[in-house]
């Protein structure tokens, strides 16, 4: 283990602090010494330590925790600024990284509204009378997701795209009563695939992966794996490589065997591409980070899950529903709670407790700001810019791995196989050039996955191409 005693020394932080009594720095307590005395008297004990008498002495920690001494706000701010300065922020560079997390623009209104304390310091709306703001926002989120996907119902969100995908599969297993087998198109995000395996294999559920040929899967190869034992097919479209899969044809093949279809979609694509419902998906899941949420090194993000109405009572997670209050006034509550762990315990549809309320709120604000026009413009902008970048790179000597149509990201291959050097050259020039696919597929270690969002301009793309120009390395 790399962790252990060595990890707890943390001299790196403590050296910036003076030792000694720093309790005066702790700003969040309320009770004065006089308050404490009055409270102890009311309780009937002499000292606070007596309140811990129920813990056997031999179980108590007889020393202070070996963690860094307290920092004042000034010191902590300086410390965090130093840590921040050792990172290259996407906001301080040109970011062409994708693979499920994207550098899309976040309008100021999103940050401004979501930073209202009434939203972010409240909790799950157990008391609907004093939570109508959150509940209505959840109900609107569910509606917006249905409008976006064309599906009948949405829950109030899950942890992230991967957790939404596994929850969708677990739901399909329960609905279909086919517990032993799921089929996955291999162009699915490799980390989502790993999550499916982590959850399903111990449950005795086989995860059959149909690898793509080139950058997309052959429909007949998938169809050959579908049978009456298969709960569902999981297909990502646009897939992990940015390319379009033929979900309609896959759905048709699934219908023949009674196999449900889980489509992992990209919310930013739907101003341009057909919606999951149009393609025959039974469940639509997505990573909602792209909808107004910051990158923040991978989380918290937003798991979107929407489905056909017939699955509503098997959905995981929170759901807000409309009702009336005593005065006949329209209002909202958490509903269909008998699915959930706090009531059904070991028979619940999922162990999920909270949703990602704040990030669902951000996504709602984002979608409200964008509207139908904005989403169309967003999709078109990403599409055009990604295609321009791909053409420029091909002109500069990079190669595509197939001619599959793609949306906002694409894979290009470096015939000179110097990916590490090119990534390093990018860092030196403040360009995050793309994701090295070798991290998942050794055979693709000559390839970059490059995403182009609406934030990138012609001159940004010129800089990318300049950094990646094949002559730039080793000359």
């Amino acid at each position: 283990m790399a962790l252990g005693a060595e990890a707890t020394k943390l001299e790196t932080i403590t050296e910036s602090c003076h030792s000694g009594e720093r309790a005066r720095l702790m700003a969040y307590f309320m009770n004065t010494p006089e308050d404490e005395q009055a409270m102890l008297a009311a309780i009937g004990v002499e000292q606070i330590e007596s309140l811990f008498d129920s813990i056997p002495a031999e179980l108590k920690l007889s020393r202070p925790l070996a963690i860094p001494e307290a920092m004042s706000e000034i010191e902590l701010t300086a410390h965090m600024q130093q840590l921040a300065a050792r990172n290259l922020a996407a906001s301080n560079s040109l970011c062409f990284l994708g693979g499920g997390a994207y550098d899309h623009f976040v309008p100021a209104v999103v940050d401004s509204l979501a930073s209202r304390g009434e939203f972010y310091t409240s909790y799950t709306p157990y008391q609907p009378e004093v939570s109508q703001g959150n509940l209505q926002a959840m109900f609107e989120y569910q509606t917006l997701i249905c409008q976006l996907t064309g599906m009948d119902v949405s829950n109030a969100s899950l942890y992230d795209g991967a957790s939404a995908t596994i929850e969708a599969v677990l739901m399909c297993r329960a609905v279909s009563r086919r517990e032993k087998r799921v089929v996955v198109v291999g162009s699915l995000h490799p980390e989502y695939r790993q999550v499916l395996e982590t959850y399903l294999v111990p449950l005795g559920c086989e995860v059959v992966v149909v690898e793509p040929s080139g950058e997309t899967v052959d429909v007949p190869a998938v169809a050959a794996q579908l049978n009456a034992e298969t709960a569902c097919l999981v297909v990502q479209h646009p897939n992990f490589f940015g390319c379009l899969e033929d979900v309609s044809a896959l759905s048709a093949a699934c219908r023949e065997q009674g196999v449900l279809v889980v489509q992992v979609f990209d919310p930013t694509s739907l101003g341009v591409l057909k919606r999951p419902a149009d393609l025959g998906a039974d469940v639509a899941v997505a990573e909602g980070q792209c909808l107004g949420n910051p990158l923040q090194f991978g989380g918290p993000y937003l798991g979107i899950l929407a489905c056909k109405e017939s699955f509503m009572r098997r959905m995981p997670g929170r759901i807000a529903g409309q009702t009336v209050s005593g005065t006949d006034r329209r209002c909202w509550v958490l509903t269909l709670q008998t699915r959930e762990q706090h009531i059904r315990r070991d028979k619940a549809t999922s162990n999920v407790c909270t949703n990602q309320g704040l990030f669902a709120l951000r996504a709602s604000i984002y979608l409200a700001l964008m509207g139908k026009q904005g989403m169309r413009e967003l999709g078109e902008s990403c599409l055009r810019k990604a295609h321009h970048a791909q053409r420029q790179l091909v002109a500069a000597g990079w190669e595509r791995r197939s001619d599959a149509p793609f949306f906002k990201e694409f894979v290009v291959r470096d015939p000179s196989r110097q990916i590490a050097e090119r990534i390093q050259a990018g860092i030196e020039q403040g360009v995050l050039v793309g994701v090295d696919l070798g991290r998942w597929w050794p055979e693709l270690s000559d390839s970059l996955l490059i995403a182009v969002t609406e934030k990138r301009t012609r001159s940004d793309i010129d800089r990318l191409v300049d950094v990646l120009a094949l002559k730039a390395v080793g000359v």
Binding site: A2, G4, T8, L25, A27, A38, A42, I48, S54, I55, L59, I67, E69, E73, T77, M80, A84, A85, R86, N87, G100, A101, V109, G117, E118, Y123, T124, Y126, P128, E129, V130, Q136, E140, Y159, D160, A162, E197, P202, V272, K274, D278, E287, L295, Q296, G298, P300, G321, G326, C331, T335, N351, C353, T354, L361, A368, G371, G374, L432, V435, E454
Partner: protein, 487 residues
Amino acid sequence: MRNRQATQLLFELSKPGRRAAVIPPSDVLTDEPLESLLPSEALATEELALPEVAEGDVVRHYTNLSTLNMSVDTHFYPLGSCTMKYNPKRNERLAGLGGVVDLHPYQPESTLQGMLRLLYELQGILAEISGLPAVSLQPAAGAHGELTALMAAAAYFAERGEKRTKVLTPDSAHGTNPASATMAGFQAITIRSAADGSVDLDDLASKLDDQVAVVMITNPNTLGLFDKGISEIAKRVHAVGGFVYLDGANMNAILGVTRPGDLGADMMHFNPHKTFSGPHGGGGPGAGPICVNEALGPYLPSPMVVREGDAYRLDYDRPRSIGRVRSFFGNVGVLVRAYCYILSHGPAGLRKVSEQAVLNANYLLARVKHILPVPHGDKCMHEFVASAERLKATRGITAMDIAKRLLDYGFHAPTVYFPLTVPEALMVEPTETESKETLDAFCEALFRITEEDADLVHSAPTTTAVRRPDELTAARKPIVKWNHSGG
């Protein structure tokens, strides 16, 4: 002031042609038809049904909605088991620094050294606070942490060829415990609580055998009492080769006082959104980092942050790991706030968190127990469970009535009807960031409610935006999205 605009839905504000965000036209491939870039059968054939509103609409709409919430920033929020403490503003600002929040998960490690160091240090800090050496920051919430730890235990036993099928959870446990056990492929078996909420050792003994993989304990338990039997429980579970899982929901009571690892627990999760002040966000995001013993360490999810000399990197070379339980690294934004919170307190400060949380809870308990009996003991840790059973019998006032009437007095309600083992339960957790004045005012409200006309209390709340919504109809005839025809 009645603000009707707040309760209109976005979709009702929509007007064709109105808009807010505008994406500038692409400065490349401007004139190329979409059909030349993508096959026409893939292209959308109709507009999305999203609403059309102006920026001013959006701002007023959500600002007004926010005012319909109670929150920690605006109200005392003694929601038991949720640790609704103050969420420091400095954490928001620091977690929002560009070099912290604008990091892509697939950036090269050389561009992430500050973040990786922060996460590495947090791993070490959580190991120290828990007394358990191996840490995974990946799980996205407490329930997710439970599931991850149970999967790690399952992998541990599978590798040793041991067939263990059962997970034991107390009847007072949070519902996520048995639900996580089922999802991890175990049979969840309930163990009884004794009158004081502690695990019934006889019932445990009768269910403990070599089929048991894990026994899940919440300590302090859900009645807010420290279970003194923990060492004996751990001894017995270890004797049959099982592991003890400690649900860390109540860590706010024991920071720096005692450590789960020292109590005999083999694995646990933290709820940083509770214990370490990550804001609750209207119901998430949380995070659910887990700490486990040496034996279980190799099975934790991949990757972990490791240190090599002065450099930090992500270690994916973990051959015995269960794999991944989510995408990317974890709920880093929440973890950063936890790190800031811990560094703001230091060792003495964290201990003081628990001292003040326990002091506040005991003070409330001492003041209210004569009207709302606390069935299990007259001391507590960071929270206590009072019962309205007597009040219900004498005056017909239930726990729910009290909860609703408290809203009229400007206090969020305690958790009600949990744990299931106490009739008419009111679970009160004041946290350390409340003053004696606030606690006194809360007590005064409770005293007045118990003396108020019962009909008035039954009709509460009377001052909130809505009153006791019809939850039955909502569940029987679910309306879970807006549509044109109304609602």
